[in-house]
Point group: C2
């Protein structure tokens, strides 16, 4: 792929011309949230293009809804236009931004418009990209499920009997979704404390700040076009429902979760915050990075049988922990290929009973871990074997779970330098529990 004429597109940038992710920005001079794409160290303000030039109508004369869609405070209207439109808009913007683009002069050679529409990312505030009606978190990270199951039930009963037959998932909390950079407050909750040592007394619940605050490295998938209530989405058509992908940190308070979750699943252990990265990488941008998921030895139900084998993506994923002192350690490196269920399978399963998905709905993959040691694990629960071992950090520090002041940054990208398709950062810092 050609390079971009936009200045300062670093070869290591996640936002190469091969990417063109969509997000919601605001700027000091215009606090109204609106649609932009990222290119290198700049955001291209599509609402500014729509308001101050004919570029959008010139590039996309047959998509009259586009000007209004890019002026909205969320990506929902754009996402609802459907994947064929996203594909053409991405291609058209690549042409506009490419050194060899036939349409490049429209923007490149108009200094006034460039100044208005091409904004340095450091001057831009990012917002939650979608209005999320419902958020569902799956559990498709096989090595995570196996490791956690082994920890709590031993290796022979590690996976529940249903695990290989269906993509296990649960309904998450949409109201506490936040965008990268938003503070994350350590939750207070009920925790089961052990009884006094040696006294033979039973354990008892207490209320206080979580002592086992953790992150979960996940891939998030936004729904573009949904389905009518009562109509299942066949697995072979599910790709057409997908708008794009983000990184997702499903913050988890393990001690709250452990006490509450039987029999109805995680609740306050999860619903205090879930962070997503701000730039939505369009489904088409990830097409070149397909690979096979983890092999499932089970004879699948028909509605879960996929026509293609390369149903997941090989995205390089990394997790950084930065202490309050500012020391950063990369504590995990893995790939998004370590899933045993693809997003089309998750969508087919989610809708098989008729449940409607709507534009903007968010699906989490479940925690992604590699098959190896602590350095491939997508949660501290796994890395530390539930607090039994420490993760060593730069600065002679160590962790079992997160401390106040810690930041977790997820990163993910594919492709070679100069043509990277990446997500930027999904970052959150832990603040002390509210004093009560």
């Amino acid at each position: 792929m050609a390079s971009s004429w936009v200045p300062d597109v670093d070869p290591a940038s996640d936002f190469s011309l091969a990417n063109i992710p969509f997000g919601i920005i605001s700027t000091p001079d215009n606090p109204a949230p609106r649609v932009a794409v990222a290119i290198g160290s700049h955001a291209l303000d599509l609402a500014a293009l729509a308001a101050h030039s004919d570029i959008l109508t010139t590039l996309f004369p047959d998509i009259p809804a586009l000007a209004d869609a890019v002026s909205q405070p969320t990506l929902n209207a754009f996402a609802a236009l459907g994947r064929p439109v996203h594909r053409r808009v991405r291609a058209g913007l690549q042409d506009l931004l490419s050194t060899t683009g036939s349409r490049a002069p429209l923007l490149r050679d108009d200094p006034g418009l460039r100044a208005r529409a091409l904004r340095p990312l450091r001057e831009v505030a990012m917002h939650l990209p979608m209005a999320v009606g419902d958020y569902t978190d799956f559990y498709a990270g096989y090595h995570h499920a196996h490791a956690v199951g082994t920890m709590f039930r031993g290796p022979n009963a590690a996976l529940q009997p249903n695990y290989l037959h269906l993509p296990v998932g649960y309904h998450g909390r949409a109201s506490s979704l936040v965008v990268s950079g938003a503070p994350v407050r350590r939750p207070v909750g009920q925790i089961l404390l052990p009884g006094p040592e040696g006294a033979g007394e039973a354990s008892r619940p207490a209320t206080g700040p979580s002592r086992k605050l953790d992150f979960e490295l996940e891939l998030g998938c936004f729904v573009g076009r949904g389905n009518e209530m009562g109509r299942a989405v066949p697995v072979g058509e599910a790709e057409e429902c997908i708008f794009g992908y983000v990184l997702l940190n499903d913050w988890s308070a393990r001690d709250i979760q452990k006490w509450e979750y039987v029999p109805l699943g995680p609740f306050n252990g999860k619903n205090f915050a879930t962070t997503v990265s701000p730039w939505v990488v369009l489904a088409d941008a990830l097409e070149p990075f397909r690979t096979r998921p983890i092999e499932n030895p089970t004879e699948l139900q028909d509605y879960l049988k996929e026509g293609r084998e390369d149903s997941v993506f090989d995205i390089r994923l990394e997790v950084d922990l930065t202490t309050a002192e500012g020391d950063t350690t990369t504590i995990a490196r893995t790939s998004s290929k370590h899933l045993i269920w693809s997003f089309p399978q998750m969508i087919a399963h989610h809708t098989v009973g008729g449940c409607p998905l709507r534009t903007g709905d968010l699906l989490g993959s479940g925690t992604i871990s590699g098959p190896g040691g602590a350095g491939e694990r997508g949660s501290l629960l796994e890395m530390t074997e539930n607090g039994k071992k420490e993760v060593l950090l730069a600065g002679m520090d160590a962790r079992t779970f997160l401390k106040d002041g810690d930041s977790i940054t997820l990163r993910g990208f594919c492709g070679p330098d100069g043509a990277r398709v990446g997500f930027g950062e999904c970052r959150g810092r832990i603040y002390s529990a509210v004093q009560r």
Copy 2:
């Protein structure tokens, strides 16, 4: 309380002058959904009042936001005005509609306005009353939890260790909430079938229409004013968050639920449909019907300790099953007092870790059952002991679970004839699973 000058307010009506529930209507002459209150067999169209008279500004000169709020397609804007405003608007409308009301002439003596604003309920279509951001279903019906637990784990382990310490709940699916009258399609899903008899073969999953389709009798609670992320709602302030109540049928496919729900909770067994009644009974309308919840022997955590003892409502609840042939049997009669956790406790627990509630969020009580036999039970699972016994119906019919063509109608009311505070109907009919 005085009676209403509105014609045809039957003494047995749920919508007496003592009630004044709010809902979203449309009419053949005006398909735009808008706010109304119910009085007897009529709906009073508040948007019509706002558009065609000065009544609202005369009655509520200091609530200038009201005219716009009642012209919205959901009750969210009205709910967000807060409980003191709801209280005053209800009282003002009671004055307008009362035979002895000082403001009654404004509407009663204006035949043109009456014709526009006072619409027979049979001419009115009802819509989902709120835009629901998140729906949470609790499990506070003690007798239900105990009966179901006994069925699956025996009487000694009936309740999980956490049950008496915290209001157990899970995140439900907002996208499949529907209003009374909407069809409910029998879900298709994965079900664990027993192996061939005598062959010693293990059970195996199959995909097909649920064979154990059930209802759940619940009380629903809509949030009026929410809380900021990170800020817990103290239990003593939770009443101020409540907008009002509806009946809720949490349709459940027991066979799908059983196979999927360990370890992350119910998913496709629940998310195909949840039906709510259309008229929201304001929190203040239920104040006279307070009573004590089921006594909890546990020493509660401070954040769950309530200042008042009469923290639940004694609403008479009934469940009708109507067959495809049209025979109706009342299969259950109970009361909403059979809860061990109050809605303020649910709200305090939901927010203790900082989870934000938003205007329009819906909380379900959990299935409500009385302590007695099958005729007090809020689900077929309990009545039939998971299909072992039949419920006898009028017309020499019988059920273990629901058949295609069956309708379930929930009803609920308190108060004496002539001053009933009731919910009207929460009804849904089962349609055959989609042919696949």
